[in-house]
Symmetry: C2
Subunit: 152 residues, 2 copies
């Protein structure tokens, strides 16, 4: 099980604070102060997460300058970071379904074009909707080369 894509993903974004930073980024947050305030984990943790995510290539620092202020940097998602959107959305949906308080979900995500609510779904390359139990998992090229010795 050495070569598992889920484990590899968790190596990069596997901590709570990292995923919360990414959540904020998807909500449109760009600046250090806003991240620190909204995540509620302290400036040190925020700075560490932003540094790690920048180093990992999920975010990039872009300079900006408010009038009368010195140049500062904001943090924008790269394509690599934006590709995590589905995962964040799916985690949010699960929380909405199974862990929301009585009042309902805190945020609602809608399609900007038509206003209808957005959800994640699975779909195959032929365009069919796919649900739990309708998938077949087969070893891919990355697995075959890994375990001549132990099966683990």
């Amino acid at each position: 099980m050495a070569n598992c894509s889920v484990a590899r993903t968790l190596d990069v974004v596997g901590t709570r604070s990292t995923l919360l930073v990414m959540r904020e980024a998807f909500l449109g947050t760009r600046r250090f102060h806003d991240f620190a305030e909204r995540i509620g984990s302290g400036e040190a943790v925020t700075a560490a997460r932003l540094r790690d995510l920048t180093a990992a290539g999920l975010m990039e620092k872009v300079p900006y300058q408010e009038p009368g202020q010195r140049t500062r940097y904001e943090y924008q998602l790269t394509q690599k970071g934006r590709d995590l959107l589905h995962a964040i959305m799916a985690l949010r949906e699960w929380g909405d379904s199974w862990a929301a308080d009585e009042q309902g979900p805190p945020w609602i995500s809608t399609h900007t074009g038509c206003g209808a609510e957005v959800r994640t779904v699975m779909r195959c390359a032929h365009g069919h909707d796919v649900h739990f139990g309708e998938t077949t998992v087969t070893p891919g090229p990355g697995l075959i080369l890994t375990d001549p010795a132990a099966h683990s």
Copy 2:
């Protein structure tokens, strides 16, 4: 930001070993020995995660009996657990795209009906495909009641 569905989800499945157990469950693993062996995190961690997931209602223990063996229990996903499939799939896809080794992804997930590869996508209730930047996030009922005092 107290009421965030992503954070609530992470309270339940926010650790690496928890998500690895869920991944194994989606690959069809049911029995303690198989979980422990394939996750590679030791029996103590495996037992703790299975216990936590059962207590949280994502899995349930179902008795079974091999001939000549005493009754044992296997762990099956409940609906609450199965609903995490999209999140696991999305994390796996990200790992395949951005963190796979040169040989390629270790597993390939295909639609059992037609054999085409499966991916997660976002779609609105009207049936439109939705991509990054095409969503509007608005406060939902759960947020409005939380912050009379501080904005945080």
